[in-house]
């Protein structure tokens, strides 16, 4: 009787593990959540973005003009981005990050990490 319970428990565990595996695999393959910010017409879109800690933010320059992405506190700083070039930053620390384009300081944006 004890052996039967043990075998049944093992079988149940195996079934549970097999059902959970695809979900786990999927979440591992997906990696951290990602968000895109578009640089176009001398502005960041969206200008203000709220994300959870660990989110990967990617800025893409869709403008004909080179731009940069620089946070006020210099916690992230891109190279000069030509058309279609990207810059990625993973927000790990919660806080509010104001950023701008160092070539066009009137271009500003805000990233809120929760």
């Amino acid at each position: 009787m004890r052996n039967k319970i043990w075998v049944l428990s093992l079988a149940a565990s195996l079934v549970l593990a097999m059902t959970a595996l695809p979900t786990l695999e999927k979440s591992l393959a997906a990696g951290p959540p990602t968000v895109d910010i578009k640089i176009d017409n001398f502005s960041f879109t969206p200008a203000t973005l709220t994300v959870k800690a660990g989110t990967q933010i990617t800025w893409t320059n869709a403008d004909d003009i080179p731009h940069t992405v620089v946070s006020d506190d210099r916690s992230f700083k891109s190279k000069v981005l030509d058309t279609d070039e990207k810059f990625t930053f993973t927000a790990t620390q919660p806080g509010t990050y104001s950023y701008f384009c160092s070539i066009h300081p009137k271009m500003t944006g805000k990233l809120i990490v929760q």
């Binding site: 017409n41 001398f42 003009i65 080179p66 000069v80 030509d82 070539i103 066009h104 300081p105 009137k106």
Partner: protein, 152 residues
């Protein structure tokens, strides 16, 4: 940012170049315009116009130095001196070429233009016109880069 706030204009790391650049452009183009006018004028007006042209071009050449210097400072401070490419590299190259040509025109004028306005070589005016075209192209590119057509 208030347009008449001197603090914003003087302390912004890259703003000086954008402000100063207008002086050599305006002075040089005005100088060339005076030289063109002098070419088709009769003395004594011709000498007066040639002298005005000479003065404008000399002051334009004087402004080339701080303009180039502030442009390079903006590159070093704002972009950490990173290797330039594309439009920024083209702007730097054309800017340096324009600055050198303005100085060359001013130097030739300074050496060859005595009291009379007729001692300049025949290729001086074409050189001025070529330099004007290059200045115009550099200025256009600078305006495009700086986003003067920014949406308000």
């Amino acid at each position: 940012m208030h347009p008449f706030d001197p603090k914003s204009a003087l302390l912004a790391k890259h703003a000086q170049h954008v402000v100063l650049i207008h002086f050599p452009i305006a002075l040089f183009l005005t100088g060339v315009a005076f030289d063109l006018a002098a070419r088709w004028s009769k003395t004594p007006r011709r000498n007066i116009l040639a002298a005005a042209a000479h003065l404008n071009i000399l002051v334009a050449a004087a402004f080339v130095v701080p303009t180039l210097a502030t442009g390079i400072v903006a590159w070093q401070w704002q972009l950490d001196g990173q290797k330039l490419k594309g439009l920024l590299l083209l702007h730097l190259t054309l800017g340096v070429a324009s600055g050198l040509l303005i100085c060359l025109v001013a130097w030739i004028g300074f050496r060859r233009r005595p009291a009379s306005g007729s001692a300049l070589p025949s290729w001086y005016l074409p050189l001025e016109l070529v330099t004007s075209a290059l200045v115009g192209l550099t200025g256009h590119l600078g305006g495009f880069l700086s986003g003067v057509n920014l949406p308000s």
